[in-house]
């Protein structure tokens, strides 16, 4: 740890070959992020075999650059197509898409990329200087703390999500229930399979994401009959510079979202809740709260800053503890082992050139990335001019390819279609989809943390309260859960009028 290590890292990261890998990775990653069926995790997994013959540092630089590119690319589809390429760009659609519809696509994209960059830089600086300290804090986390953090995550959906809190809760529960389908890894028992072999594998969250967001979104948008039509993005140098001029106004949102992003991000599955929490907080604290969901630039800044900060922060536990902080980081962890490296704290000792090369490449990758996406956006905007009758089947086919590639299973394509219809119905009835997906991703982890905690305490729930860190987190989580119940009462007490419904969610 120290400046000389970082300088060593830069010596590795800015060799011509590694810089070339960065450029290729970001280009591929952005394309992968733009295609709704292929997310960062999938793209990294698909390209993993290509890296076997490379030196490990170049390989990780290529894969992480794909990851950064996918993070940037997710914003492009969210804003221009209203299709989140990744679950953590869902919140970006809330205001990004309305902005694009109003002809402010250029502003929205510039704000998104710049926010991503700011969030990323914040996380990278923190990783560089505070990695050892934070790793030690996280090392102390036992199952009760991990469960408390997940409890907090889901409580924020219920408490801060707006809309009907009961429906948010139902979405979370459906996600968790879907996650329990299949083999229980603790006891080896089959659950909810009813003797059907195909159900043993369970439901993969990638399929759910592709179906709920990809297919569901297409069904919803054809109904409106407006989407996919060529709204001009109006992206040029002047728009970029003008947007940069107004962005410093939102410095509070940048700072708050960066912190939320980093804090949520270094825990598994953090990017998605980080983007939602950041959006919810920005809405709560903004003077223009009523403009959220209708095309407010702050509503793009908040989730993008947090998502990218979280996406970078997800690398922290992977390199320091050997625990992936996101599905994409999990795939990279697999890569590390294949390249013959031992993930975990020993990396810093045994392979400093690898770790510090990686950390330095985060700086170079994101600096190159933000200029690349800004420059290439006119190319991506061209996608908007493709006729609707070509794009719809194309997206369906890409979604089908993405679904099939996960497990080489035709059944997954059928699941994708079913999830698509479910997503359409849920969206119309205002059941939020993101908590469902998140619960599906975190289901096993949450269940294991809960069970281990209960074993530690002999079945008493008190364990979530009488450990200091877990207790504090649980208390905040419980507060969020009862927030929807006390808010109307509080408003009456204060004598302020209660808004009938909080619009703008989903």
């Amino acid at each position: 740890m120290g400046i000389e290590n970082l300088i060593l890292g830069f010596h590795i990261a800015i060799t011509p070959f590694n810089l070339w890998m960065t450029v290729v990775g970001i280009l591929l990653g952005t394309i992968i992020g733009v295609l709704p069926g292929l997310g960062g995790a999938n793209g990294v997994a698909i390209l993993l075999p290509v890296t076997f013959t490379m030196p490990p540092t170049s390989a990780i630089i290529l894969l992480t650059s794909i990851y950064w590119g996918a993070l940037f690319g997710g914003a492009i589809t969210s804003i221009l197509f209203n299709i989140p390429g990744e679950p953590w760009s869902v919140a970006t659609t809330f205001d990004g898409y309305p902005m694009a519809r109003q002809g402010q696509g250029g502003q929205a994209l510039t704000a998104a990329f710049t926010s991503s960059f700011v969030g990323a830089l914040f996380s990278i600086v923190l990783i560089t200087f505070f990695a050892p300290v934070l790793a030690q804090i996280a090392l102390k986390f036992g199952p009760p703390e991990i469960f408390a953090i997940q409890f907090l995550t889901f409580s924020s959906f219920v408490g801060l999500g707006g809309g009907n809190p009961l429906k948010s809760l139902v979405s979370i529960l459906i996600g968790f229930i879907l996650a329990t389908v299949g083999l229980d890894i603790v006891t080896g028992q089959l659950r909810l399979t009813f003797g059907i072999t195909e159900l043993m594998r369970g439901f993969d969250f990638i399929i759910a994401v592709i179906g709920l967001f990809g297919i569901g979104e297409i069904l919803l948008s054809v109904e409106e009959g407006l989407s996919f039509k060529g709204t001009r993005t109006g992206m040029n140098l002047r728009v970029v510079l003008d947007t940069w001029k107004i962005l410093p106004r939102y410095w509070r949102t940048f700072v708050r979202s960066s912190f939320i992003g980093f804090w949520m991000g270094f825990k598994p599955g953090g990017a998605t809740p980080a983007s939602f929490m950041s959006y919810a907080f920005a809405k709560r604290f903004s003077k223009n709260a009523d403009r959220f969901g209708k095309g407010e630039i702050e509503g793009v800044v908040a989730p993008e800053t947090a998502a990218h900060a979280a996406g970078i922060a997800a690398m922290l536990p992977m390199i320091t503890l050997g625990i992936p902080g996101s599905p994409t980081a999990a795939v990279m962890l697999g890569g590390l082992i294949i390249w013959g490296l031992q993930p975990g704290p020993l990396l810093f000792k045994d392979n400093p050139d690898f770790v510090w090369g990686l950390i330095a490449s985060m700086y170079t990758g994101n600096i190159i990335g933000v200029f690349m996406v800004l420059a290439f956006v006119p190319l991506f905007a061209a996608i908007l001019r493709i006729p609707f009758a070509i794009l719809t089947p194309l997206i369906v086919v890409v979604c089908a390819i993405g679904s099939y590639a996960v497990h080489n299973s035709m059944l997954d394509i059928w699941y994708m279609l079913i999830f698509g219809v479910v997503g359409y119905v849920f969206k119309k009835l205002d059941y939020p989809l993101a908590p469902l997906v998140l619960a599906l991703v975190l289901g096993d982890m949450a269940e294991n943390a809960l069970r281990q905690s209960l074993i530690m305490s002999q079945g008493s729930l008190a364990i979530f309260f009488n450990r200091p860190i877990a207790g504090a987190i649980t208390a905040v989580a419980l507060f969020f859960f009862i927030l929807p119940a006390i808010t109307p009462w509080w408003r009456r007490f204060r004598g302020s009028p209660s808004p009938a419904a909080q619009a703008g969610r989903d």
Binding site: L166, I177, A400, I401, G459
Partner: protein
């Protein structure tokens, strides 16, 4: 809207019941080494059933609200859904590439009313391009049918 709310909540209660049934079957209490397998699903399903019952009551008491889906809206939705379903069914027999060529061509011609030249160029070009990208470049195998077999893949 009310009917759709009602049906959705009812289906979810039904599913919750199925989960409860399975959780009770495998045991949801305290086993010799901690909570049994059914523990987590049991409580999830129980809370979900109670929640959906409340949503059901809310929708029954609430006003009629806006229409869930109008006839004009449902048309385009089904127009996307059924060809997609047919294409997926077709993949079982002719593989993903041929099915997507037929699907793209059909959709472009039928919905988009594009003229034959772009229909044929795109319906053939995109599957060929995705074949090269996924089979050749990314080495991700997709479902294949008799045509690919005949070509030696």
């Amino acid at each position: 809207m009310r009917a759709a709310e009602f049906v959705t909540a009812s289906i979810l209660i039904l599913l919750g019941g199925v989960v409860l049934f399975d959780a009770v079957r495998i045991g949801f209490g305290w086993g010799p080494d901690g909570p049994r397998s059914g523990f987590f699903p049991f409580w999830l399903a129980l809370i979900m059933v109670v929640n959906c019952a409340v949503i059901l009551a809310q929708s029954a008491l609430g006003g009629r609200g806006k229409i869930f889906v109008s006839r004009e809206q449902l048309g385009p939705v089904l127009k996307v859904l059924w060809p997609a379903t047919a294409a997926v069914a077709l993949m079982h027999f002719v593989g993903l590439y041929v099915a997507s060529a037929l699907y793209m061509g059909f959709y472009m011609r039928w919905v988009g009313r594009h003229s034959w030249v772009p229909v044929i160029v795109i319906a053939l070009g995109l599957p060929i391009a995705s074949f090269l990208i996924f089979e050749k470049w990314f080495l991700v195998p997709m479902p294949k049918g008799p045509l690919e077999q005949w070509l030696g893949y």
